[in-house]
Symmetry: none
Subunit: 249 residues, 2 copies
Amino acid sequence: MTSNSGSSPLPAPKPAIILVRPQLGENIGKAARAMLNFGLTEMRLVSPRDGWPNPNAGPAASGADQVLEQAKLFDSVAEATADCAHVFATTVRKRGVTKPVLTPDAAANAIRAEPGKSAILFGPERSGLETDDVALARSIITVPINPEFGSLNLAQAVILVAYEWSKAEGLASPPATDLDPPAPQSELEGMIGQLDTMLDAAGYFFPPDRTPATKRTLRTLLTKPGWTAQEVRTLRGVLSALAGKKPRN
Amino acid sequence: MTSNSGSSPLPAPKPAIILVRPQLGENIGKAARAMLNFGLTEMRLVSPRDGWPNPNAGPAASGADQVLEQAKLFDSVAEATADCAHVFATTVRKRGVTKPVLTPDAAANAIRAEPGKSAILFGPERSGLETDDVALARSIITVPINPEFGSLNLAQAVILVAYEWSKAEGLASPPATDLDPPAPQSELEGMIGQLDTMLDAAGYFFPPDRTPATKRTLRTLLTKPGWTAQEVRTLRGVLSALAGKKPRN
C-alpha cells in the first residue's frame, strides 16, 4: 500500500466479483452489465461450465464489454481469491458453517471500512455455492428475501450487492484506520496447508471419513481472525518450531 | 421475530408497481418475479403492447404467478393511479419537469412515512416514461448509476425499488445469527499456556531476552479471533496431536 500524502486514507479498492462455476454465458454477460451499472469492473470466473470466452456473454452484457474483456479465468476459488484480504460468500441457504451473516448493505460498509481487497463469491445458477466454497469465506452475504418466494437469479444477486456498494461512492471519505489488512488469502492457505500436513503426520485426522468436515472446521476457525501477513508469518514460524525445525535466531 | 404488540400506527399499504406500456411479456414476468422476491404483490399494467394476458409472462415469472394472475389492466396512467395518494415516477433521464428527485431508499422511506397508498411508475423498456406520464407523479425516483454506463433494464429497476422498500419489512431485518460467544478468558489462557510449553520445549523462544515480547505477540494474535469454547477445544486437540499425544478416536 502506498502512503497517502493528504489527510484522508486511501479508500478500500473496489471489490472483485467472482462467479464460481457459472453455467450460462448469458448470465455472465448479465452479471457484467449489473456490475458496470454500479461502477464495478473486476470480474473473475472460476471454471465456467462452457469455457471462456463464451459467445453468449457479449450480447447479454448490453455494452458492458470491458468487464467481460478484462475478466480473469481461474481453476479454483482459492486461486481466484489468492490476493484478497476479505472473502464474502453470497448464499441464501442456511449452512452448517458458523460465520457472520451480513445483509448487502452491511457487507458494503464492511468492504469500505477495512483496508485490503475484497472478493464476493456468487455460486452457480442452479445450486449456489458449495459448502467448500463457503468455507473459504470470512463472512456470508444473504439478501433478506420473501420467505415464501425466494427466487433471485445470479445477475439480480450481483446487482443488489453492486448497488449497495455503489451507494457510498463519491461520498465522504471512509473512516480513518491504520490497521494492517488481513493477509492475502494465498498466505492464509499456505499456513493452513502447513498445518494440515503436520496434523496428517501426527495422525490427527481420524476417522478418515470425518477428515473433510474436520478440515472445514479448522479452516473456519483459522479464517475467522483476519490475521495480517505479519501474524500469518509468525504463526508459520510457530508451526515450523512445533514441527521440529530449527528456530530462527 | 416477535410481532409488535400494539403501540405503533398501521404501516402504509404496500405500494403498487405500475408498468406503463410494457413491450415484452417476458419482462412483465421478470418484473413480477422481482416484486415477489421482496414481498410486493400488486402489479398494474397500463396498455401493454401485446395485450394481456401474455403467454410469455408466466415462464419468466419463475413461479411468481400469483402476481401475474392478480395484475389489473388499465387504459391510462391516470386510471391506474386513481386510488393512489402518492405517485412516484422512475426515470433515469433529466426531464423538463421540476419535481423532487429521490433515490430508491429515500422513496422507500417516503412511502412508509406517509399514510395512503403509493404507486410507482415504470416506463416502457426502450424509451422510459413520457413527459406526460411523469407529469402525473409527485416525485421522481432515480437510481444513482454509473454516469458512463447506465443500462438498467425494467426488471432490474423494479427489483432495486422493491428491495429498498422491503428493507423495513420483517423479512428485511438482519438475519438471525446463532454465533457462539468467545470462550471465557480462562480457556483461552489454558490454550496459550499449552502452546507456550510446547514452544519452549521446541526451542522457539530465542534469544531469551526477546521472549516476553514474542509471547506478547503470540498472545495478541491468539486473542484476536474471539474463538468460541468449541474452537478453543479443537485447537487444544490440534496442539495435543502436534505434541505427539495419541489422537482421539
